[in-house]
Amino acid sequence: MSEIALTQAPAHARHGSNIGQPLTRRDGVLKVTGAARYAADNHPPGMLHAVLAISRIARGRVAFLDVAAAGAHPGVVAVMTPANAPKLAVDPEVKTHPFVFRIDVLQNDRVRYAHQPIAVVIAETLEAATEGAALLAPRYETEPAQTGLDGDDGFVPPVLGAGQPAVLRHGDVAAGLAAAARRIEATYATPAQYHNAMEPHAIVAAWDGGRLLIDTPSQGLVLARARIAELFGLEPGHVLIRSPFLGGGFGSKGLLTGPQVLGIMAARLVGRPVKLVLRREQMFGPVGHRAPTRQTLRLGTDADGRLTALDHHTRTATSRFDDFIEPCGGVSHTLYAAAAIATTHEAVRRDTGTPNFMRAPGEASGSAALESAIDEMADACGMDPLAFRLHNYAEVEPVSGKPFSSKALRACYAEGAARFGWARRPRAPRQMRDAGGRLVGWGVGTATFPALMFQAEARAVLRRDGTAIMESGAHDMGQGAWTALAQIAADALGLEIGQVEFRAGASDLPDAGIAGGSAHTATAGIAIHGAGADAIARLAALAVGDERSPLFGAGNAGVVARGGRLHRSDDAARSESYADILARAGLAEIQGQGRSAADPAAQTRYAMHAHGAVFAEVTVDPALGQMRVTRLLGAFAAGRLINPRLVRSQYYGGMIWGVSFALHERAVMDPRTGRPMNPNFAAYHVPVNADIPAIDAILVEEHDPHVNALGIKGVGEIGITGTAAAIANAIWHATGVRPRRFPVMPHEVVALMA
């Protein structure tokens, strides 16, 4: 049984029910005092340090490694290369599951991308292992490598990212464009980005005979356990992964990566526990990235400014050896009531690591392009960009014709516009200046993200002392699962949050599904809700069937669980405590199980999405091109909010990432070598505090009776969507020039204005 549990009460008192309360993080004190134990904080006795040696070429093979020199370095215990790497039980090239990616774990000497692991040095100290890795001084047989999107190659992939179709056509786009009174066509470029969670991928692996104990950050414990068991030929039950805290994941810790597997192999090779932590630079290669895209949008409207056609074509890249295709077109399926819609994707194969899910995969890049194009179309129609969006508002999901399970986007537009002061915006660009004479512009972008749901289980235990345990193998990546899920648990069990011991973050707990797709609170939460309800139902059955209980005979009226007591629904004065019920029944505890899964009937009937509107003010120095987002406001509707404080912080984080997408973040690849040239935080820019002067998020009320039992949609990713385009649109409004390449850089704005 895992020892990871949190009973700490949050610093803020609650009033009324737990759900909906803005509780502070229950794990906050642990984090700010350094007591929260992250994977790399584990040091089992006898532990050795492993350091990766990574390839400096992007394509070819490793011809020579100076294993003797590395091995002779004082403190080095072993050098793991393809010559001595433990063999795996299954070939890692074989896709045993749709969510298995090919990984590079020293099974041969081939190099398929820059920064691919080519050896692991294991030593008594980190320093010795680091020096050992440097002493390997590899020589290569180099083949020409290709990165970027240029070229006349390209193929239509069978499926995109998580299985979406690469081509979707609704209506006749060619006819719609031909019939249009006004048309625009524009191509937008987005760069490769790397997840770069603050906490790098890390693993501490300890073998105990045929059992394996692993500390590693994971957004998908049960999938990771299954993959490890498969690769090493173990019973899944013999693998325990602990992952109580993640220092961010953003998708890159969703599926097991090569370096994590190498850590386990290293521990097996040396027969001692091993710790392997990636250096920042090593995060730019083997652990996924957001692929670059080039998206061409063709839009047409009739004379009244109604969209007759929306054509969204994406060109993107995947690796030479595996498929992950950024699904950019999805946003064009749902947002605007165009008479005809087509989304198509083509991909090229390049000598990079395989791209991966990265916060709002597809939606982030796709909405940057779509929402820029919508702005261009609005301008072509001579309309205010917000009015244009409302004019083309989708009352039903355009490509499917399904009604939305709920859609408070109009309210998002309205509340956001009111607080932002949008009504004062002049329609023409280059009209506003600040006191220093700098150009000021306002832009809007629509945010959207599907409301997804995976499968999960949970287990509740009510104890005779009036407290409870809730178990869910959920993942806290920093978003606040320790708190929000405990709030759901406490309400489901009718207890104070401090009376519920919440256990999460370990693979021996009930499967909580993957923490991705902004679906974790819904997925894990509904299983928890169900487990609590089940335990209460069993308890109630004991009471209402027992004539010694004040609740005897309440079976038809029903009971409500509140404050550690069951109350008759029709007479709250008649109640009994859980403890008394259990004591009389002679039970130490009573258990409940819960499960969650999407409701296929509801999914067939309804389109389910969260929505939002992001408003940005950007100030631009007209001569130097330096830009700053001086105001940023999002209004989002995402169903029921379990904890508004945590939700707001997710929106802020997403919107800040949107600023990064718009103005800062990009991997610079040297096209001659295929190497990333800025694999560190001095050169790979993300926003700093001075880039985020004022940010605000409005939590727009939305009630969704269909999406799931708790009415929860996701909030983790939607903040990025809409934001990048809102900023680009504000730059246009400030300057009159339209940036179509992300991130928008000062020299480029100056060049456009020249």
Binding site: A435, G436, G437, R438, D621, R675, A683, H685, D691
Partner: protein
């Protein structure tokens, strides 16, 4: 990380002796050197930690108005020294526009002068780089070209010096005091950093064992205090190296410019003093036209070393703007966003 000897000399003489051995490197704040060690980009066999040399940690007022800054004074301490900041406001502004508060707390004056280039190929151990590994070539040639030099570069190396601090220093005629095996010497900062020529591996004129002990600003430098600014174009609002930058200092009398000091950052392998531009301004009335002419003079010899020539025009514009800001007068306190185009703009300076 390779093994190295670590020594902590107690006197300047010991430091110089220890630093003269082949493979030795002085360690000050370590904010640059330690990164280079971790990246396997430099492999010194001996680190000579000079941070215990207390005599290098002082800021001394000199008779007559100049100042002598010990090589180990921390960047943050110097910027926040009130008498220093009021006499040399552009230097304080430049310091505060560099790096982050944490880095500035650790970084020293000497280390700032001697920090290595930020050319990304220099930091990529597998790239050819004449500056890091003499004779291997220069992979920056043919690269994206956004950080390349536009002045004073050679076929062998097109990198720039990244320091902000050095830019107003060179404008104000700072002098570097050096202790070495052959005794003490002084070098004007303008002659301290080397242009690459065919030996880009030598960033400065320092010989092995030579230690920077202090940087001196002459009394005349303080005469520019009322009209002295530093301005820096960055790819984010803070915590970024300069795309291009400029220090401008004017001595004004009766609304006219008596003397001007101008230097540029991010354009060459050294902080670039623009004397021709200063000559344009001496005796002129301050206005946008003359500032633009000065800017053109400053970049007259510029030529792109790579595909991107926009930085030459950006450099002209930043010179003109820095001059306009300087003419408008030094603000009473360093702006909250030091050297930023987003700092408050007095008057109509933005329209230049």
């Amino acid at each position: 990380m390779n093994s190295f000897e670590y020594v902590r000399p107690a006197t300047i003489a010991e430091a110089v002796a220890a630093g003269a051995a082949p493979g030795a490197a002085f360690l000050a704040g370590g904010t640059n050197l330690l990164d280079l060690l971790k990246g396997d980009l430099m492999r010194p066999t001996r680190l000579v930690d000079v941070t215990r040399l207390a005599e290098l940690g002082r800021i001394e007022r000199l008779p007559g108005g100049g100042v002598r800054i010990g090589a180990l004074v921390r960047n943050a301490d110097l910027a926040h020294d009130q008498p220093f900041a009021s006499d040399f406001p552009a230097v304080a502004e430049a310091l505060l526009s560099g790096a982050s508060a944490q880095v500035r707390n650790a970084a020293t004056v000497g280390g700032n002068l001697l920090q290595r280039t930020r050319c990304v190929w220099f930091y990529d151990v597998a790239s050819a780089c004449n500056r890091r590994a003499p004779g291997t070539g220069c992979d920056a040639r043919g690269g994206e070209g956004r950080g390349d030099a536009v002045l004073g570069w050679s076929e062998a190396c097109i990198a720039t010096h990244p320091s902000d601090f050095c830019v107003p220093l060179v404008a104000l005629d700072a002098v570097v005091e050096i202790a070495g095996p052959a005794g003490r010497r002084e070098v004007p900062l303008d002659l301290f950093h080397r242009l690459p020529g065919d030996a880009p591996e030598r960033d400065s004129v320092l010989a092995p064992g030579e230690l920077v002990v202090a940087v001196r600003l002459p009394p005349e430098a303080a005469a520019f205090a009322a009209h002295a600014r530093y301005l820096k174009l960055r790819e984010r609002t803070s915590f970024a190296f300069a795309v291009v930058s400029a220090a401008a200092a004017l001595r004004m009398e009766a609304g006219g410019i008596v003397a001007a000091r101008i230097a540029l950052g991010g354009v060459a392998a050294k902080p670039w003093r623009a004397r021709a531009a200063e000559d344009v301004l001496a005796g002129a009335r301050p206005d946008g036209t003359v500032f633009r002419r000065a800017a053109e003079a400053a970049l007259a010899d510029a030529r792109p070393s790579g595909p991107d020539a926009t930085r030459i025009e950006l450099a002209r514009r930043i010179v003109a703007r820095a001059l306009a800001l300087a003419a408008a007068g030094t603000p009473a306190r360093v702006p909250a966003l030091p050297a930023s185009p987003f700092a408050p703009i007095p008057g109509a300076a933005a329209h230049v």
